[in-house]
C-alpha cells in the first residue's frame, strides 16, 4: 500500500534518501536545496538512518568527500543547487572519470551574477558535459521516483556512473504536492544491497584511482566514457520497467504528451511542462492538434528516440530555462541536432523563458502555441531565438 501525503519536493527526496539509507552523505547548505539535506540530517540525528553524515565547509569539499567515500566502496549521496554545483565543477569530472556511482539531487537555481536564488536550469546545464547522467523531474513525485531509480542506474554493474536528479527550485522544491511513497521494504528490495566495484582498501588487490594518463592512453579513456554512456538508455528503460511493477508509474526516456497525432508541439523540461500540458488540452478542445515532449533523460541525450517522436510534426518550439549567451538555448541545440539527422523535419523555434524565477504562465504557452500554428500554416520562421515573458 502506498502512503499518500502532501509534502514539498525537498521533503520527498529526503524521504527517498531515508528509505535508501546510504553509507555516506556530505552536506552543505545552499538555497533552495538546504531543506533537503536538513531533513536528512534530522534522520541521522534521530538514528533513523545509519548514514555517516559529514557537514563539510563547501560544495567543493562535499563532492571531494563523496569521491573519497565512493572510491572507498560506499553508497554515497549529496545534494546541491546553483553556485554549489558550479563550485563542484572540477570534482564532477573526477567523479564521472573515476566511474563512481554517486547520486546527487540538484534543486535547480540560477547562477550569479547578478545573484539570484530562484529557479532556472543554468546550474545543471553547466554540468551537461561533465559525464554525469541527468534525470529531470516535473514534480515532487517524479523527483522521488527518479531519486530511487537513480541508485539503480548509477550502481548498475555495466555502467557505474554518477547521476544528477533535477527538480525546479522553489516551484517544486518548496511547494507542497500530493505524493505517493513506496513502502520502506519495497524500496529496500528495489534498490538492493550496494555492491562495491574495485573498492580501495582491498589489501589483496591494491589499486589506484585516477593516476596520470598522458597522450598515449587518455584519448582511449575518454572514448571508453563515451562508450559506457551509450549503454545508459537501455538501463534507464529497464530500471523504469522494474520500477513500474512496484510503483505503478511508467517512465521512459521522455514523456510524450498527446504527441502522436499532433501537428505542433512544445519541448520543455521540468515543472513548466505541467503548466504547458493544461494549455495543450485547451488547444485540443479548440481542435488544434498540439502536443508536448518533456525530456527525462537529458544526459545521455536520446537523439534518435527524440527525433522519431518529433519528426512528423509541422512546427515545434523548444523552450529553454537557461541560455547559452551568443548561442541557442541548450535544449534547443540538442533537439536541433537530433532532428537534423532526419530528412523531413519540423520547423523549429527556440524561446528562452523563466530565468531567475520569472513566472512561466499559461498565457506564455498559449502565445508560443499560437505562433507555432502560424508557422505550421505558412512554413515560415521569422525569428529563431527569442525571450518570452521579458519586460521591455
Amino acid at each position: 500500500m502506498a502512503r499518500i501525503l502532501a509534502v514539498s519536493g525537498n521533503e520527498a527526496v529526503a524521504e527517498a534518501l531515508r528509505q535508501v539509507n546510504p553509507d555516506v552523505c556530505a552536506a552543505y547548505p545552499i538555497t533552495p536545496q538546504t531543506e533537503l539535506m536538513q531533513r536528512f540530517a534530522s534522520f541521522v540525528s534521530d538514528g533513523i538512518v545509519d548514514t555517516e553524515l559529514i557537514l563539510v565547509e563547501s560544495e567543493h569539499s562535499a563532492m571531494s568527500t563523496c569521491i573519497g567515500a565512493s572510491a572507498g566502496g560506499g553508497r554515497v549521496v549529496t545534494a546541491t543547487s546553483s553556485q554549489g554545483l558550479a563550485l563542484m565543477w572540477e570534482m564532477l569530472y573526477i567523479a564521472s572519470g573515476l566511474r563512481l556511482p554517486i547520486v546527487m539531487p540538484v534543486v535547480n537555481r540560477s547562477l550569479s551574477a547578478p545573484i539570484n536564488i530562484h529557479c532556472d536550469h543554468s546550474d545543471a546545464m553547466g554540468a551537461r558535459d561533465s559525464g554525469w547522467i541527468q534525470l529531470w523531474s516535473e514534480n515532487a513525485q517524479e523527483a522521488y521516483d527518479n531519486t530511487l531509480q537513480a541508485f539503480r542506474i548509477a550502481e548498475h554493474m555495466d555502467i557505474r556512473l554518477p547521476v544528477i536528479v533535477c527538480m525546479d527550485g522553489f516551484i517544486i522544491g518548496h511547494s507542497i504536492q500530493r505524493i505517493e511513497y513506496l513502502e520502506d521494504e519495497e524500496v529496500k528490495k528495489f534498490v538492493g544491497e550496494f555492491k562495491p566495484l574495485n573498492p580501495l582498501l582491498d589489501i589483496d588487490n591494491p589499486k589506484s584511482y585516477g593516476p596520470l594518463i598522458l597522450p598515449d592512453l587518455y584519448h582511449e579513456y575518454k572514448r571508453a566514457q563515451h562508450e559506457v554512456m551509450t549503454k545508459v538508455k537501455d538501463i534507464v528503460l529497464d530500471v523504469a520497467e522494474e520500477f513500474e511493477k512496484i510503483g505503478g508509474r511508467r517512465y521512459g526516456l521522455f514523456e510524450a504528451y498527446r504527441l502522436d497525432d499532433a501537428e505542433t508541439a512544445l519541448v520543455i523540461l521540468n515543472s513548466a511542462a505541467g503548466t504547458s500540458k493544461d494549455v495543450i488540452d485547451e488547444f485540443r478542445e479548440r481542435g488544434i492538434m498540439a502536443g508536448l515532449l518533456k525530456p527525462r533523460l537529458f544526459r545521455p541525450f536520446p537523439y534518435e528516440e527524440v527525433a522519431n517522436a518529433l519528426k512528423h510534426l509541422k512546427a515545434i518550439c523548444v523552450l529553454d530555462r537557461a541560455d547559452s549567451f551568443g548561442g541557442y538555448g541548450p535544449l534547443f541545440m540538442e533537439v536541433s541536432s537530433a532532428l537534423y539527422q532526419v530528412r523531413e523535419r519540423p520547423r523549429m523555434i527556440n524561446k528562452i523563458y523563466g530565468l531567475g524565477g520569472r513566472d512561466y504562465l499559461p498565457q506564455h504557452a498559449e502565445q508560443v502555441l499560437s505562433e507555432l500554428v502560424e508557422i505550421a500554416k505558412t512554413d515560415k520562421v521569422e525569428i529563431i531565438k527569442e525571450y518570452i515573458g521579458v519586460r521591455e
Binding site: Y28, P29, T31, Q38, S45, L53, L55, S58
Partner: protein
C-alpha cells in the same frame, strides 16, 4: 537646538530589514560612522558577501562589489592592487569567511594585503536558516545538528582570529562584540583603527565581531545577548590578538 545625533551619510535613507535583535544593522552603522568620521566615503569600496549581509549595497551609501561566497578577500586583493588609493573592506560572515572561504582569508592575510576585513561571527549559517558552521559551539543545536554539535564527528569551533594572528603578514587582529554599549564603542574603535591602518599602508587587518542571531539560535533578542556573553565569549574571548604597530599609533592627519 543643535543636532547632535544623525544618520551617517555613509548609510542610505532606508530602514534595515534584518531580523529583530540581529547585530548586522549595528555593525553596518558602526562602519558607516567610522567612514564618515575619517572622511573617506568617496574613496571606499566595500565587498559584500553571500549570507545575511548580502544586501550591504541596499544600505551603504558608497560603491559595493558583490563577490561569490567566500571570495571577498581575493576579490578585495584584486581591487586594492588595481586601485591602491582606494579604501577597500570586506564584510563577511562566518559561513563566508570561516567555512567556504577559509583559503582566501588565510592567503590574503599571509600576503599582508592592505585591506580591512570585518568578520561577523554568529556561530551559525544565518541566511540559509541556522545550519552548523565551523564556528558553532560544542553541543549547540542547529538544523543540521539537531542533537547539538558533536565534536567527534563535526569538529570544534574554529577560532579564525587566533589562527590568523599566527600569520606573519597580518598586522592587526582583534575580537570585539556588539552586546553592550561599551563593546559597541570598542568595536567602533577597532573598525576605525583598521581603516587607519589601511590608510597608512600598514597592511592586513581583521576585526572579528561577535553578533547575535536570535532567530536561528531560537532565543529572544534579550536572551541571545545573554547566550552570547555566557557561551560565545568563553569560546571566543574578546581582545586584541595581534597588533604589529602597538604603541605607534600617532595618526598622520594629512593622509585622511
Amino acid at each position: 537646538m543643535k543636532k547632535i545625533f544623525k544618520r551617517p551619510i555613509s548609510l542610505k535613507q532606508v530602514p534595515f530589514r534584518f531580523c529583530p535583535g540581529c547585530g548586522h544593522s549595528l555593525i553596518h552603522r558602526l562602519i558607516a560612522e567610522c567612514i564618515d568620521n575619517l572622511g573617506i566615503r568617496e574613496r571606499v569600496v566595500g565587498i559584500a558577501p553571500v549570507g545575511c549581509a548580502v544586501f550591504a549595497y541596499d544600505y551603504f551609501n558608497f560603491d559595493i562589489l558583490e563577490a561569490p561566497h567566500g571570495r571577498p578577500p581575493a576579490t578585495a586583493t584584486g581591487l586594492k592592487r588595481a586601485m591602491p588609493d582606494r579604501i577597500i573592506f570586506t564584510y563577511q560572515g562566518d559561513g563566508d569567511l570561516a567555512a567556504i572561504g577559509t583559503a582566501e582569508i588565510i592567503h590574503a592575510a599571509n600576503r599582508g594585503e592592505n585591506i580591512s576585513v570585518f568578520f561577523v561571527n554568529n556561530a551559525t549559517y544565518g541566511m540559509t536558516g541556522g545550519q552548523m558552521a565551523p564556528t558553532t559551539l560544542p553541543g549547540q543545536k542547529t538544523t543540521t545538528t539537531p542533537s547539538g554539535r558533536n565534536t567527534k564527528t563535526a569538529g570544534f569551533p574554529l577560532r579564525v582570529s587566533e589562527l590568523l594572528s599566527t600569520i606573519e603578514g597580518a598586522s592587526y587582529i582583534v575580537r570585539t562584540s556588539v552586546d553592550s554599549y561599551k563593546n559597541l564603542i570598542n568595536t567602533k574603535r577597532a573598525i576605525e583603527k583598521s581603516f587607519r591602518y589601511q590608510i597608512e599602508e600598514r597592511g592586513f587587518s581583521l576585526v572579528e565581531i561577535l553578533s547575535p542571531c536570535p532567530v536561528d539560535w531560537g532565543f529572544t533578542p534579550k536572551d541571545s545577548i545573554i547566550w552570547l556573553r555566557k557561551e560565545m565569549m568563553s569560546v571566543y574571548p574578546l581582545g586584541t590578538l595581534k597588533d604589529k604597530f602597538k604603541g605607534k599609533n600617532k595618526w598622520k592627519k594629512e593622509l585622511l
